[in-house]
């Protein structure tokens, strides 16, 4: 049997235990279901909802009502219904079924809240009776007065997406305002007042945005970056997880070799040291891949759940998609970055003495992976200040995290520079790894090197000085 396969198989046997496989699956299912639940809630909060109205409860809605003079309660009720229908895009009958008139006096706060609670409503608008006389005042321009519509909410802790509703109450009033002002203006000029109320139009196809040099109509940078964010948010997280997984696998593999005192025996097997190193690295890479794919699938569900409510912008319509070559580059960068993690961990692993120390040694790797993750979740490369760019460039794990956006935006200098940097970084780590694994350090530990002894001596001398003085 091939020695590399032999070592890799054994490492995998130790790594992919039923326990670890169960934990991968659990996290994957968790991510998927969290995404679906949040998605459900986002959807719910933008769907038609029950609303309470305090106004003329006794009268009921007159099906034959129309806007004649805008001074009867029936017309005001028609206004509320039309505003609701406009807001949720329903027909009048459906709107009416969501609007509940409460038999409470307007201004009676406690009474209104009590009615809301008994009916299970999340918000209520309260329209004063004076609205009809106020409108009459506006029409004649004698003693014109605005009418304040009060809105009532009940605060419940429903999380970020659950309580998204205060806009709904106020946008209903906003819609009423628009319809009412148009009707009044129509009456005043005895014609269509649309052009008076809105002599300008903007937005929609009137927006023009230049993307990578091409001008597209009907899109804003805000919509584009929102959509890019939701797509590329996933990349830093998955890269971070894979790096952490792979790193801890390698370091703890070395830690357990030392703790179980198996390393010396392994090192006297009739195989090259490089085969041992490669076997361990290969196993870690496979495990990293398994985790990466599992989390990627979970994350994909999580993210699609999140973006259900928001408007979908198809990035490829604006030249912001990855071509075949881009994917190849992305994968190459990911591979190089994972390899650098493996290299660093192999070096750190050589110095571990046991399992516990191995776990502490994953700390530096975790930092190096988590810092760029947070940076690139909230910022893009081009938005970073110069110092930030320098720091991020030096951390090898940043490169796959930002590669997707940079590829989309055609920022090739960072991509190619990053690849060159990773190649050099990897070459150096391989060189150091091979050097260490062919030296005594693996057996004797770090304390016995000349450098450490000198360091210790220096330290002790200082201590003595201290004690003498």
């Amino acid at each position: 049997m091939n020695h590399l396969v032999n070592i890799t198989k054994k490492e995998l046997k130790e790594l992919l235990t039923p326990g670890s496989i169960v934990s991968i699956v659990v996290v994957m299912v968790l991510l998927m279901s969290v995404g679906t639940v949040i998605g459900g809630e986002v959807e719910e909060s933008s769907a038609a909802a029950d609303i309470g109205v305090v106004y003329d409860a006794g009268a009921g809605i007159d099906p034959a009502a129309s806007y004649a003079y805008l001074d009867t309660p029936a017309e005001i009720k028609l206004l509320i219904q039309d505003a609701y229908a406009y807001l949720y895009g329903t027909d009048g009958g459906t709107a009416a079924s969501f609007i509940h008139y409460l038999d409470v006096a307007s201004g009676d706060d406690d009474g209104i809240i009590a009615a809301m609670e008994s009916k299970g409503l999340s918000y209520v608008i309260s329209v004063p009776d004076a609205i009809t006389s106020n409108i009459a005042g506006i029409k004649t321009m004698s003693g014109a007065e605005q009418t304040r519509i009060d809105t009532y909410f009940i605060f419940k802790d429903e999380g970020l997406f659950g309580s998204a509703s205060d806009s709904v109450g106020t946008s209903l009033v906003g819609a009423m305002n628009s319809i009412l002002s148009k009707k009044i203006a129509d009456m005043a000029i005895s014609g269509d007042s649309s052009y008076i109320l809105q002599p300008l139009t903007w937005g929609g196809d009137g927006n023009h945005t230049s993307v990578n040099g091409t001008v597209y109509s009907g899109i804003t940078p805000y919509a584009l970056s929102g959509s890019m964010m939701s797509q590329s948010l996933m990349v830093p997280i998955v890269v971070m997880i894979v790096i952490l997984m792979v790193g801890s696998v390698v370091i703890s593999s070395m830690g357990s070799e030392k703790e179980n005192k198996t390393l010396e025996t392994l090192l006297t097997m009739p195989i090259r040291r490089t085969t041992i190193i490669s076997g361990k690295l290969l196993a870690a890479a496979i495990v990293g891949l398994v985790y990466g794919v599992a989390y990627m699938i979970g994350m994909m569900f999580y993210m699609t759940g999140l973006t259900v409510g928001s408007t979908d912008v198809n990035l490829s319509d604006y030249g912001l998609s990855l071509g075949m070559l881009d994917w190849v580059i992305l994968m190459a960068i990911l591979f190089l970055a994972i390899f650098s993690a493996l290299g660093i961990c192999m070096i750190l692993g050589a110095f571990t003495k046991n399992y516990k120390m191995a776990q502490q040694m994953t700390m530096p790797i975790s930092f190096l992976a988590i810092i760029p993750m947070f940076v690139f979740m909230f910022m893009s490369w081009s938005a970073l200040p110069a110092l930030g760019k320098a720091l991020m460039f030096l951390i090898p794990f940043s490169h796959p995290m930002m590669a997707m956006n940079n590829l989309m935006l055609g920022d090739m200098s960072v991509i190619l520079g990053g690849m060159a940097y990773l190649l050099i970084f990897d070459a150096i780590t391989i060189f150091i790894t091979v050097k260490i694994y062919n030296s005594d350090i693996l057996i004797t530990g770090l304390e016995q090197t000349k450098f450490m002894r000198k360091l210790n001596k220096l330290f002790n001398m200082k201590k003595e000085d201290h004690e003498n003085s």
């Binding site: 046997k13 235990t17 179980n260 005192k261 198996t262 010396e264 006297t268 097997m269």
Partner: protein, 240 residues
């Protein structure tokens, strides 16, 4: 008889501490040779240099004619090293461990024969299919000795084979080693227990503070120092 192992003026310096100070001895084919001395004398360091685990600072070591530093891969093919206190991968069963190790030495039919041999030598019965982490010290040592012997090495190097074992287990392990030697394997064992070595080895070298203070057959040494046992020999040789 030819020499299976030759050390010439071997030195090992850790940082600036000289652990082995230029020792020479040789082990003949088919004999059990004992390297004895107190803790910290340099036994483990010497064995690790022989087994290609540590670089030799000065001098040379050859195993069956192969230089340890220059032909370390050749040397690894013909030696077996049993480190002091060593263990096995605790997530594997005894059988899986034997298979994993055998695969480094053979394939095909020879591999299966080697695995069978290893399992037989470990004498673990049906516990061979239990996880290694459940083994007692004695069982673990039997598994490791079987592992070391199944490839039929030209030279077996064993460090403190009975350390940490109770009387019964230690006795059993010594019997196993004696059996092995009867089959013509050359063995170098180290021990700080001089009685153990006397009963097992045809020749010994005594090491103290990194120097060989005496070597020869136990009988010759006892005669030379007019001593009843190797412990007395050692004490007198060191005082000299």
């Amino acid at each position: 008889m030819a020499d299976a192992l030759v050390l010439k003026d071997v030195k090992k310096i850790y940082g600036d501490r000289e652990a082995v100070k230029g020792i020479s001895f040789s082990v003949r084919e088919g004999e059990i040779f004992g390297l004895i001395g107190p803790n910290g004398a340099g036994k483990t360091t010497t064995l690790r240099m022989i087994c290609t685990l540590l670089n030799i600072t000065e001098g040379s070591i050859s195993v069956c004619g192969h230089d340890v530093m220059k032909e370390s891969e050749e040397v690894r093919k013909i030696i077996s090293y049993l480190p002091e206190d060593s263990g096995a991968y605790k997530d594997l069963t005894g059988r899986q461990y034997i298979r994993f190790m055998a695969a480094f030495f053979a394939d095909g039919e020879k591999y299966h024969q080697m695995v069978e041999k290893g399992i037989r030598m470990s004498n673990l019965g049906d516990r061979i299919d239990s996880k290694v982490s459940t083994y007692s010290k004695g069982m673990m040592r039997r598994l490791l000795i079987a592992r070391a012997m199944m490839p039929e090495p030209k030279l077996a190097v064993m460090d403190e084979i009975t350390s940490g074992l109770d009387v019964m287990n230690a006795y059993e392990i010594r019997e196993i080693v004696r059996d092995i030697a009867k089959n013509g394997v050359t063995a170098l064992i180290s021990s700080h227990n001089m009685f153990e070595v006397e009963s097992l080895c045809s020749r010994v070298a005594m090491i103290n503070h990194g120097n060989i203070v005496e070597h020869g057959t136990p009988a010759d040494l006892k005669r030379k120092y007019d001593a009843n046992n190797l412990e007395e020999v050692f004490v007198r040789a060191v005082k000299k």
